[in-house]
Symmetry: C2
Subunit: 419 residues, 2 copies
Amino acid sequence: MTEVKALIITIGDELLIGQVIDTNSAWIAQQLNQIGIAVVERRSVGDSREQILAVLKEAETIAPIVLITGGLGPTADDITKPVMCEYFGGSMVMHEPTLAHITRIFEEILKKPMIERNRQQALVPSSCTVLMNEKGTAPGMMFEKNNTIYISMPGVPTEMKWLMQQHVLPMLPKKYELGAFLHKTLLTAGIGESFLAEEIESVETALPNNCKLAYLPNYGMVRLRLSVYDKNHAAAESLLNNWFNKLKTAVMPYLVADEDIPIYIALTRLLQSKNATVSTAESCTGGYMAHLLTSQPGSSASFKGSIIAYDNEVKHSELGVSYEVLQEHGAVSQPVVEQMAKAVREKMKTTYSIAVSGIMGPDGGTEEKPVGTVWMAVASENKCVSKKVQLRYNRQLNIEATANQAIHMLQRLIVDNPS
Amino acid sequence: MTEVKALIITIGDELLIGQVIDTNSAWIAQQLNQIGIAVVERRSVGDSREQILAVLKEAETIAPIVLITGGLGPTADDITKPVMCEYFGGSMVMHEPTLAHITRIFEEILKKPMIERNRQQALVPSSCTVLMNEKGTAPGMMFEKNNTIYISMPGVPTEMKWLMQQHVLPMLPKKYELGAFLHKTLLTAGIGESFLAEEIESVETALPNNCKLAYLPNYGMVRLRLSVYDKNHAAAESLLNNWFNKLKTAVMPYLVADEDIPIYIALTRLLQSKNATVSTAESCTGGYMAHLLTSQPGSSASFKGSIIAYDNEVKHSELGVSYEVLQEHGAVSQPVVEQMAKAVREKMKTTYSIAVSGIMGPDGGTEEKPVGTVWMAVASENKCVSKKVQLRYNRQLNIEATANQAIHMLQRLIVDNPS
């Protein structure tokens, strides 16, 4: 694959001590891929003059396009701008349109007096082309040196994304002849990575050189990503579709979605295609399923509400689980989740419901019900199905895995019982 | 600062096309920092022989400790192991303890026949020292070359973390003379980054050379991180505590927590210190507040449950919001959130409650109530306080910011009304 290459550099001590997780790089890489630019490497360096100078210098040997985020704030630890000025030459000058923009933000939106520190955010190296940042106070900057383009953006995700969408992504296709670098993803569930590999071996070994297959396992689900590069967009698309369909046929028994979406979006779409609705009754997931099912715009068409019954008293008062059942079977049991699923479905007047109760850990396990024991149930008007699973992750991943598996369970119920 | 340095390398095409977010690096960096090793750079490269060879070669010029994750799975796209064998020398040999371990996993846990692909996971370069991976099928490997240690681990977070904790973190202090690289963090709310910088300017400018201050803004909150390096652990600790206390005094009016915890953990601790409990009634956050408040072990001591009333019908049936009020004021209004807060607190029999209703976007806004309009209320036995905020982020960040601000609002209510 010989597409146009890019390097992503993220600057900030917080990335090197692990205080923040770098989500910017993944987003930037996705966007570049969609216009046929391949990120070949990512580097993170600290707020250090020497490190920033070294990575700027080496960048031109890696890729002709260099995207940089971070280190542009108003405080003393943000040194990227003066270091850029040192590397690319020129002197620091006031960028009047940015100054006017910052002044307006303070006067009209923040309604606070502006201080010298804010004014200085409008200073830029005279060697750069400014990319106006209407979403914040730190301007984007573009430099060129030795046939390499360097674009520096603030690390605040909303500002970086705005600059990418307004300035960078429209500009790059005009500067470079971009081929097509296309991907499609299948989401599978219910089969492990190595067994899935056996199922699709004949397709995988027959893939042409400019097609690449990747396995992305994730707690009981595996995503399969097929990538194609070709100078010609139509050729790439046709090649990708051809092999994608072969793959899809090979994994059909395990297929959840034929696009790169999480399972809760697959469920939401399935529900909305049937004008159906869902509610949840959650103990151990503590609202996480409801959060997933309301994370997309338009969720209110399929999601009505939830009872989060973390406490047994709430399971009784809000979901009608009897004290006798709680006493006899415990909160993590088949009769409890089935009652929870039926009760919330009736209360919220929804087509379907999901209920879970389990022990997420690290404490609370017993010999009989160790940490990771989860009962889950899904209900429709005339069916209520339940099962027990045994998870082996940490608390956070147990919560995620429980939500994913319970959502998958409802998806299977709907698919297997077409009305 | 002249501490022992490390480089983190993550391998995988999925990182370069942005399909997964790299959370491993942040975790590894945190762990290394705690034992006095400073990560000076992070690099991500693709599943490509040339790229992996290049970064392995350059690594020795960057740091004496190189931690590598990813590319060790059982499928064809995982090529790290043969490339390591090529770079460090030797041939691929069967590691019998790993083979026995994999065989046991298949026989006892997965209860599936083992295939050749799984058997091959026990092959390792003869030039490595194997780090047994009891959490999975891909072994960890350690190599030495030109006074540099290379440690290769699988990319699955639970397996990588186990290898770090069992093998790597106990070993490194024995090999290197590690000084102390210490950090402490303050969480503030209610003041912007540049104004906070003015408040603490006299402290910041007086900081000694081996003390470093960083600002980490995050949607209405700013974390201040103070870092200190010293060869001597006691000296580092005393220096850090001394300056940390000065900083803390300077930011007192805005202080939420004097450690690096999110605000929902600060609230949970505050509640538990008072033997108090909380419930939530959520419309626009769709269960996200409940999720945050149940994310920590032991949450059940302070969190009882929630009503997620996404649909107006549920606000009426479960929280007693009258149709007249909904009609007259709309779902996003002061009387609605106050009723929600009062009703859920009574239903769940909790000391406090939090309620929110808003328009998270991108659709659903009106002239009078644009996207980002949120009403929030917090209630105690004899007080119910509410306020309106106007957010300007995207849907996901609006949900996060709403949850954080509403949780902060309850924290203020409790702190300002000591019982």
